[in-house]
């Protein structure tokens, strides 16, 4: 008999090729176990991650997004991760203001030698995403996707000058 499998969050990870991707590789080589729900996208630097990528992943239905790069001060390009940090900070805060569950936007610093830390990050993030539940943000579940219906529901304001 096949058992009904437990729901597992789908997670996309943007990993910088110098540190975090190598860290994930190390975790694999050392045969460490971590949840298989992570889809990895290798980026040259965490600074390459346009917040657009994060939004697009959520739009496509991923339950969470992880951006991971080298520790502060260890960026291969000196400053990429510092810039990433600013971008991710405002993205996370802004999305929270809009009503997105904070668990969905995740970030970590993982070096090439931290295979163990990488496993733990994915474990912890997965746990948090289970709490948050499936990403329904962009789904049509509320039926508010039709323009006519929402138009009558939305706030109407006087004409602007």
């Amino acid at each position: 008999m096949k058992q009904k499998t437990e729901w597992k969050p789908k997670l996309v990870g943007f990993l910088c090729k110098w540190c975090s991707y190598a860290g994930a590789d190390l975790a694999g080589i050392s045969r460490k176990k971590y949840p298989a729900n992570l889809r990895i996208i290798k980026v040259p630097c965490s600074g390459r991650v346009d917040p657009l990528f994060i939004l697009k992943a959520l739009r496509l239905g991923f339950d969470g997004v992880l951006v991971s790069g080298c520790h502060p001060g260890e960026c291969h390009y000196q400053t990429g991760n510092y810039r990433a940090r600013r971008r991710i900070a405002i993205t996370k805060r802004f999305l929270e203001y809009l009503g997105v569950e904070p668990q969905r936007i995740q970030a970590s610093w993982v070096s090439a030698s931290e295979g163990g830390k990488f496993t733990k990050v994915v474990d912890d993030v997965t746990k948090e995403l289970k709490e948050a539940g499936p990403n329904q943000l962009f789904s049509e579940r509320r039926g508010d996707g039709t323009k006519t219906k929402a138009r009558s529901k939305g706030t109407t304001r006087a004409r602007q000058s």
């Binding site: 009503g99 997105v100 323009k147």
Partner: protein, 316 residues
């Protein structure tokens, strides 16, 4: 002020100090003004300064070749400074004609206040802290704060800091954040689900005309991500999901460059309360990084700069 502006503008063109003048002239609709972009010194007499000069003229700067004399209110001057910080505009190529700004009148607030369409109003004038609205030959007086744009009520810099010619007496800032921030406070009182629902509903009216982006001085990209096709980030059809995605990403892209000039909200044809996004981002940037857009032309742009230690709390 207006007289001085006309003289200065004429002189600048005559003496060849600028190739262009960008300012305001009366619009075709009642009370409105419209941008005037000219090379002709005789056009200087068409320039006006009044309580209806809404546009943020900085939007035109990156596209204009040559030296430009530009009329700027406080918020516009911050957009100009921000463009200088981004290396989009060369300081020496602009002559900033600074208007100490007492706030701009939002005609839709006037309409709501007196319950009349703007075409039915005889006159709207400002006298100090009062606005005088004439309807059917009768005069009505209100505190001017009831008809100013929300972002004007929050204004931190009525008089440009960066300018070449000052057209009037400087005005001190007198922000009333309680009134101007009411909408955002109300939203924060909702649950996250309600907030997301609210924005989904609002953006389902969006027709993706891109007026908000096109009017924004901070959105100067030659090719915006929404027009990219490989990959296609958003579908051209204006569904609420992609509309919302567009607006979120736009806000993130202009973070640290948005001066809360209020133009995007004003031009939205379906009245989406965009300022409740832009202003929240503005405050967030200030809180997290102590950065205000367009205040200092020597400061590095927000997203090219960093501190060793900041915003670390959520990193694993």
């Amino acid at each position: 002020m207006e007289q001085k502006l006309r003289q200065e503008a004429k002189a600048l063109l005559e003496q060849g100090k600028v190739d262009w003048i960008i300012g305001f002239e009366p619009g075709s609709l009642k009370f409105t003004t419209t941008p005037l972009i000219t090379k002709d010194k005789n056009d200087a007499d068409r320039l006006v300064i009044n309580p209806f000069i809404v546009n943020n003229l900085a939007d035109f700067l990156p596209e204009i070749k040559g030296r430009v004399g530009i009329v700027a209110k406080g918020c516009d001057s911050r957009s100009i400074v921000s463009l200088i910080q981004d290396n989009k505009v060369v300081r020496e190529d602009v002559v900033i004609l600074a208007v100490p700004c007492p706030g701009i009148i939002d005609l839709s607030k006037v309409e709501r206040l007196v319950g009349k369409d703007r075409d039915e109003l005889d006159d709207v004038t400002r006298e100090g802290d009062k606005v005088i609205i004439k309807v059917n030959g009768k005069k009505k007086e209100f505190p001017v704060t009831e008809v100013l744009f929300d972002h004007c009520l929050a204004c931190e810099l009525p008089t440009p800091q960066e300018y070449d010619i000052l057209l009037g007496e400087p005005r001190p800032p007198a922000p009333n954040l309680e009134v101007s921030g009411k909408d955002i406070e109300n939203l924060k009182g909702l649950t996250p689900e309600q907030r997301w629902e609210f924005w989904g509903n609002e953006l389902s009216r969006c027709i993706r005309c891109y007026a908000c982006r096109n009017v924004c001085p901070a959105c100067y990209c030659q090719r915006c991500f929404v027009e990219e096709t490989e990959p296609q980030w958003v579908m051209p059809v204006p569904r609420w999901q992609d509309n919302l995605l567009f607006q979120i990403v736009r806000n993130i892209h202009v973070a640290g460059r948005c001066t809360d000039c209020g133009e995007c909200e004003r031009v939205c044809p379906v009245n989406i309360p965009l300022r409740s996004l832009t202003r929240e981002m503005y405050d967030m940037v200030d809180e997290l990084f102590h950065f205000k857009a367009g205040m200092d032309k020597e400061a590095l742009p927000l997203m090219t700069h960093y501190e060793q230690e900041e915003a670390e709390d959520f990193f694993r």
